[in-house]
């Protein structure tokens, strides 16, 4: 189970990295979303995966899955949401100001 998830995570990371190195701003934003998905799933997987044991005391009691990684992931989801939102608006503004979202064309002059 964990092995399967790790393969999914590896694909998320690989595609995320590939997109991160591309020229389009949209792809860079998308790559950060993929990478954060990958990180969230990785945190969950490394602490061990449990089916049907939600971290609710009256449902699962002490047999519940580990709540701490979930709390961390929840925080991470919200932070990465804030970051993504900011990046999206930044990309939008960049496009408005420069009429391009191609990072190659946004590149500064040498010695600028």
């Amino acid at each position: 189970m964990e092995l399967l998830m790790l393969i999914v995570i590896a694909v998320l990371f690989g595609v995320g990295t590939y997109l991160l190195l591309s020229r389009s701003l949209l792809k860079v934003v998308a790559s950060l979303m993929l990478l954060s998905h990958g990180v969230h799933l990785l945190i969950l997987t490394m602490s061990g995966l449990r089916e049907g044991a939600p971290p609710l005391l009256d449902e699962s009691g002490t047999g519940a899955t580990d709540p701490l990684p979930q709390a961390l992931i929840l925080t991470a989801i919200v932070i990465s949401f804030g970051l993504t939102a900011f990046l999206i608006v930044l990309a939008y503004r960049t496009y408005k100001a420069h009429d391009t979202e191609d990072l190659e064309q946004l590149r500064g002059e040498p010695n600028e």
Partner: protein, 144 residues
């Protein structure tokens, strides 16, 4: 930003109902948070989705008339609430962000739990709503 015709009355009624249901559900999620899945983040995002739906179907102008909120104020208010709740612990001589809870029995409702975590979660709720809406509304109003 508008995804509907202006005078389709049936559609307007349907959407209004859906938005009301979404808002009610978001409040359920917010209060359920302490014992069931839910909480400030989820409630806040759900509320934001409801408001986004409103913006999408009634247009920014009309929705803006209903939602007379300044999102920076909502954000600041939320942060203020969260910090003030944290200060309660300081006033009582405990550490910053010590939360308290107690159970009281009310007539008709029965025993309920009162905890300082709920106002704190409400601060979180406000910030989430404010920040999400700020992002969506400013970008959709920027039509030039």
């Amino acid at each position: 930003m508008r995804f509907t015709r202006e005078h389709d009355v049936m559609q307007r009624v349907w959407i209004t109902v859906v938005i009301c249901l979404l808002l009610a559900f978001s409040w359920y999620l917010f209060f359920a948070g302490h014992n069931r899945p839910g909480g400030g983040f989820i409630g806040g995002l759900m509320t934001a989705s409801a408001i986004v739906l409103m913006y999408m179907f009634f247009g920014a102008k009309e929705a803006g008339r209903v939602m007379r909120l300044s999102y920076p104020v909502v954000i600041s208010l939320g942060l203020l609430v969260a910090v003030v709740v944290g200060m309660i612990g300081l006033l009582a001589g405990d550490a910053f962000f010590t939360q308290y809870f107690d159970y009281v029995t009310l007539p008709l409702v029965g025993e309920i739990e009162l905890t300082t975590a709920v106002p704190f979660d409400f601060g979180v709720y406000l910030v989430v709503v404010g920040a999400t809406m700020a992002a969506i509304v400013t970008i959709s109003e920027d039509e030039d």
